[in-house]
């Protein structure tokens, strides 16, 4: 009897661990909702070629300003391009920019933060002073400055969004790594003669994964907003690449009265994606690192 009970408990524990996804959904329904919305956007981005009913960049002046209907679900714009197809392809641009810049920015930031905390002293001082200076620029102003220096285009927008993120992540990661540095296992690693590189990659970085993931998701939403803002200003992704921010530029305000659907769909797409990332980010923060405020 006794052993059966133990076995049952052990089995249950295993089952619980396997169902981490189910548990996440139960405890953080809003976060799960955000994740679902994002999966839909990701699906649209990956299978855009199959999903989009029309070519997103082909002009067709015979069907300009068609209101939403059975043939064009979200209507057409001033060049006769299908809005739905452009939204679907736009999610590819948005997610590409957001994921690349957040991933690169958060990873470089984490590395810099850990290095800064681990070495301390002059290295730390130098990195922190440079961080101070970059943080003195408001996010969008630094992004605008980068665009001014590099020019527009998808790759440059990714760089312009990545650079301002690095110091913001490194600050948070550094704080976590400072506490880690004093841990006995780091001292033990040093005692058996592990190199600095080994300690950083094997012992410190794996232990800052929680704040790293939280920062990464928090920046995904911000990156989408920033890309949309830059593109809207004409300083981001360049025409004819389909991008949500770009779709709101020009036509959406010029023909506001004639074709209000032009202004609605891209804005809803941006808000929905950012909203979903924020919900997921909040849930991840609560689950992984509740003290962190981002």
């Amino acid at each position: 009897m006794q052993t059966d009970l133990f076995q049952e408990r052990a089995l249950r524990r295993v089952a619980r661990r396997q169902n981490i996804v189910v548990r996440f959904i139960r405890r953080y329904p809003l976060g799960a909702m955000g994740a679902t919305v994002l999966l839909i956007f990701a699906f649209a981005a990956v299978f855009a070629d199959q999903l989009a009913p029309y070519d997103p960049v082909a002009n067709n002046f015979a069907v300009m300003f068609r209101p939403p209907g059975p043939q064009y679900l979200l209507g057409t714009d001033n060049f006769g391009r299908d809005v739905l197809s452009r939204i679907i392809f736009g999610s590819r641009t948005a997610l590409l920019v957001a994921f690349t810049s957040s991933f690169v920015g958060a990873t470089l930031g984490a590395l810099l933060g850990v290095v800064s905390a681990y070495f301390g002293g002059r290295v730390d001082d130098l990195i922190q002073r440079v961080t101070d200076i970059i943080l003195a620029f408001p996010l969008i102003i630094l992004a605008l400055a980068m665009v001014a220096a590099l020019g527009t285009g998808t790759l440059n927008v990714i760089i312009a969004i990545t650079i301002p993120m690095i110091p913001r992540v490194s600050r948070v990661i550094r704080a976590s790594a400072l506490a880690l540095r004093e841990m006995p296992f780091v001292e033990a690693a040093r005692a058996i003669g592990a190199s600095d590189v080994r300690i950083i990659f094997q012992h410190l970085l794996p232990n800052v994964v929680a704040p790293y993931l939280v920062m990464l998701t928090a920046f995904l939403g911000q990156a989408i907003l920033l890309e949309a803002s830059l593109s809207f200003l004409g300083l981001g992704v360049a025409e004819p690449t389909p991008a949500w921010g770009l779709m709101l530029r020009g036509a959406a305000t010029q023909f506001a009265e004639r074709a209000p659907w032009l202004a609605l769909a891209p804005g809803i797409a941006i808000s929905l994606a950012v909203f979903a990332f924020n919900l997921l980010g909040d849930a991840l923060r609560d689950a992984l690192d509740p003290r962190l405020r981002v």
Partner: protein
């Protein structure tokens, strides 16, 4: 306190210097020559004209000399001359300052006016539909780009009231009513987004305060509930909210840049976007320096404010 003030003030100087270096380096990173980029290459413009232009902007001198003279200009308050209009940057800024400043103040007031009552309401009615409504409202504010909000407002006003944003800006002192009806919409678009983080902060700060012993004491001695909330609750919860409002000042700058574009307002935000699109490098450089400088100074003032609001904080 005086000591902290001075040391904090002295810390600004190396930061501002670093900001100047970074701004300068960033805009010199541009591949090729600024003048070449602006006037096109070879055929259209003769080499003599290019040389003359370079000399006009001091680009023929060595790079460190250029930096020193630019920095010396900044120290004296001379921001240089615009490559596009040929007028001093300071003049271009001055004629647009009133609009942007008014918009910024209005947006901040709207943000505060939304955040404090809504955050208080959500905290007091925690876990009721009021709380959920406020939270959804503030999360939505974070997700909606302020330029889209602006476009929606224009759409709404145009369809229902046949109102479209006027082309010319009316200063406040000329016609207050026309001025306010023109600026209230962009201020709302920026202010709503600006308020979102502060509303969340107000809610969580007040929830924390309401759990304190002195709140129970105040209730136990029979103080009316609304006085408990106002006198003992809000007062103590306000500090982190003030900080957040200051920290989110960057949001305000970002919001202004895009919203001025939507509402066709000729302010500083539009000036910086135009300067970048027109490859007006002297103007871009000056404006980026200016906004970063303002941001640094606002953060400094915020630190001082923080100390003044909460005398318990002691700094080394």
């Amino acid at each position: 306190m005086y000591r902290y003030f001075v040391s904090r003030l002295l810390m600004i100087i190396p930061t501002l210097f670093g900001v100047a270096v970074l701004t300068f380096v960033l805009l010199r990173l541009i591949p090729g020559d600024i003048v070449m980029l602006r006037y096109g290459t070879g055929a259209l413009v003769s080499e003599d004209v290019l040389q003359a232009e370079r000399a006009r902007y001091g680009l023929d001198k060595p790079i460190y000399e250029q930096f020193i003279s630019w920095l010396w200009g900044l120290v004296r308050g001379d921001l240089g001359v615009s490559m596009w209009t040929g007028k001093p940057v300071a003049y271009e800024v001055a004629i647009r300052l009133e609009l942007t400043l008014q918009l910024a103040i209005m947006a901040t007031l709207i943000a505060v006016a939304l955040a404090i009552p809504l955050g208080t309401l959500a905290a007091v009615k925690q876990n009721t539909w009021v709380d959920y409504a406020v939270r959804v409202f503030s999360i939505a504010g974070l997700a909606m780009p302020s330029f889209w909000l602006g476009i929606l407002m224009i759409l709404f006003l145009l369809i229902f009231f046949r109102w479209s944003p006027p082309v010319v800006f009316t200063p406040l002192w000329q016609n207050p009513l026309a001025n306010l009806t023109q600026l209230i919409w962009p201020a709302l678009a920026v202010g709503y987004r600006y308020s979102a983080v502060s509303t969340r902060m107000m809610r969580s700060a007040l929830l924390e305060v309401l759990r304190e012993d002195y709140i129970r004491t105040a209730r136990a001695k029979g103080l009316v509930e609304y006085l408990v909330i106002i006198r003992h609750g809000i007062r103590n919860a306000l500090l982190p909210v003030v900080t957040v409002i200051g920290l989110e000042f960057a949001f305000l700058i970002g919001g202004l840049v895009v919203t001025e574009q939507v509402f066709n307002l000729n302010g500083l935000g539009k000036l910086i976007v135009d300067a970048i699109s027109r490859r007006d490098y002297t103007m871009t450089q000056a404006l980026i320096m200016l906004s970063a400088g303002v941001f640094v100074i606002v953060n400094f003032l915020l630190d001082i404010c923080y100390m003044w609001l909460d005398p318990r904080i002691r700094y080394q």
